[in-house]
Amino acid sequence: MTSLEAATARPAPRWPASLTLVAALAGAVGLTLALGLPAEAEVARVVLWELRLPRLLLALSGGAAVGAAGLLMQAALRNPLAVPELLGVSTGGALAAAVMVVWALPVPAALQPLVALVGAVCGGAVCLAAAGAGRGPGAVLLIGAAVSTALQAVLLAVMAAADRLQYDTLFRYLVGSLTGITWDHVGLSLPWLLGCAPLTVLALPALGVLRLGDEAAAAVGLHVGRARVAVLGLAAVLVAVVVGPCGPIAWIGFVAPHAARWLRPAADARLLLPWAVVFGALFTTVADLAARHVFAPAETPLGAWTAAVGIVAGLVMLARRSTS
């Protein structure tokens, strides 16, 4: 692991990093709630309670979940380039939504996120079934990419049959956005996320062992293939819960674990998890702030902002790895 060696050579980070992060998170939350509130008290109360609070909650919890999922994937596949988008989850969710809209299936509006969620879980399941247990991490990554590409092609084929109005409806499912999030969406996602949290913590020891390499992990007594599929399945559910209501918000699952690793270079998955979670939440909240305010009154899709940041971060990381 060249990145690890290069990273340990850096001076140890200063202790207030956690404080800074918490302060930044608090600042982002405060700005999200307070910026541009209407003057009238009654209107402000409604805006705050019915629009901003659910949106903020979903940004925080969704970002945290995707950040954790990215860390799980990178650790389980021992590959810093593994991203949740390659599990077929995002595309599966988008595909379910596209089929629903284009064929005008009679699904009540309240159930639509649920259908997208089911599609996302199915996409992940197809990917994991194709990859199978007992494969090496590289094969899993390649197979995941192949299945994701195929799902993407089906999605585009479905989109080809959509008309202009349907494009606009579907656009958020291609780019990802938090527009129009209500308490219903939060009520749908939050229980799943809370249910997944203890499972994630339970999976951490296995990740620590997987880090040693497949042979060593098997020698210690871990069933490598099963453990890997279980962890990837958990990551798929975490991402799917966010994809359901919001669409695929790209690159958070890639950037958050890397930011965590950049801050705590020597840590293993157990220590990295809280950092990845906090970074994911912070990143999503800040990006959503930008989405709402930079081109105000027009709102840009949240996914466009996260993609812009993620692309730069990814290219910087590639360049660093290729020079080291």
Binding site: L77, R78, N79, L81, V83, E85, L86, V102, W103, A104, A130, G132, R135, G136, P137, G138, A139, L141, L142, I143, A145, A146, V147, T149, A150, Q152, A153, V154, L156, A157, M159, A160, A161, A162, D163, R164, Y167, D168, F171, L174, V175, A250, W251, T300, P301, G303, A304, A307, A308, G310, I311, G314, L315, L318, A319, S322
Partner: protein, 324 residues
């Protein structure tokens, strides 16, 4: 003997491509149906053949010269770059939406830039590592494409062709711009194939035999970019054609480039023509749905599905696909 089968397969695919689809009742053709055949289906077939030949030959060149069985136009940044070039040119108004020459130029520029970027970032890695980098780079370029679409979602309908790959609605004007370019590149590649075959054996061998490795490799990469970008400008990205077809060609007639290159072009043309014929059959089949009259199933969706299945089968069977 194998050549004969390949030619028979090509003829069958071409005949199927001409025969299936809407609007023509075989075998009694009235003048309108003859015009459909000559002005719509024949250029469509030619487009499919040209694009398939270009992508197959480009993939073979890349795999031979980079000595990487996973080097394909879509994994080395060439195809995503070309798509991005075309879309950027159109969205920013530099390329008129229906100018074949402009699309070719934009695709060339974008493909060369994308390929050069991935080459600079990932040239030192092992084959599978390069592929992983390529996946990330493709994801990054696809993200930029998404950003472009977010910038002007109303032009989204036109963009789908380039994203998924389709030979729908191509007429003789498009073919006339593209065929001299692709044919020249193919003939040049075939003329150079002896030298490139020596290069595939290793830089040291090539130098000992009097073939300067670096200039030869540069020429081969330029030819591959020219072929892939020409195909993308004509038909969009047809996923997995550039990855799977070269392997079929090599299995058919060995890895001697002088024979493998024409074989790759032949197999690629067969694959795309066959995929488009299949896509048209599917289009007729799904036409009963309310939304499906508008546009057909794109050929790229078929190649992506078939290619993904092939890739998954191969990756599951081979035990040595690993990423460090």
């Amino acid at each position: 003997m194998r050549w004969r089968w390949a030619v028979v397969a090509l003829l069958v695919a071409a005949a199927a491509e001409l025969a299936v689809g809407r609007g023509v009742d075989w075998p009694h053709l009235d003048p309108l149906e003859q015009r459909i055949l000559i002005e719509l289906r024949l250029p469509r077939l030619t487009t499919a053949l040209l694009a398939g030949a270009g992508l197959g030959a480009a993939g073979l060149l890349l795999q031979a010269v980079l000595r990487n069985p996973l080097a394909a136009p879509e994994l080395t940044g060439v195809n995503p770059g070309a798509v991005l070039g075309v879309l950027a040119g159109m969205q920013l108004g530099l390329v008129p939406a229906d100018s074949a020459a402009g699309a070719l130029l934009a695709a060339l520029t974008g493909g060369a830039c994308g390929g050069a970027l991935m080459w600079l970032l990932a040239r030192h890695g092992s084959p599978v590592e390069v592929a992983a980098y390529g996946l990330l780079g493709s994801a990054a370029l696809a993200g930029v494409t998404t950003l472009l679409l977010a910038y002007q979602p109303s032009r989204f309908g036109n963009a789908l062709r380039w994203l998924v790959g389709s030979v729908d609605g191509r007429v003789w004007a498009h073919v006339q711009t593209a065929w001299p370019w692709l044919a020249t590149a193919l003939v040049l590649a075939w003329l150079c194939s002896a030298a490139l075959g020596v290069l595939a054996a290793g830089d040291g061998h090539a130098a000992a035999l009097g073939v300067p490795p670096r200039p030869t490799r540069a020429v081969a990469l330029a030819l591959a970019v020219a072929l892939a970008a020409g195909a993308v400008a004509l038909a969009g990205t047809l996923a997995f054609v550039g990855l799977v077809v070269p392997h079929v060609a090599r299995a058919m007639c060995g890895s001697d480039l002088r024979r493998a290159l024409p074989a790759a072009a032949l197999v690629g043309a067969t694959a795309v023509a066959g995929a488009d014929a299949l896509a048209q059959v599917l289009t007729v089949l799904v036409q009963s749905g309310p939304a499906a009259q508008r546009l057909g199933v794109p050929a790229g969706a078929v190649t992506a599905l078939v290619g993904a299945v092939a890739l998954v089968v191969v990756a599951r069977r081979s035990s040595h696909v690993e990423v460090s």
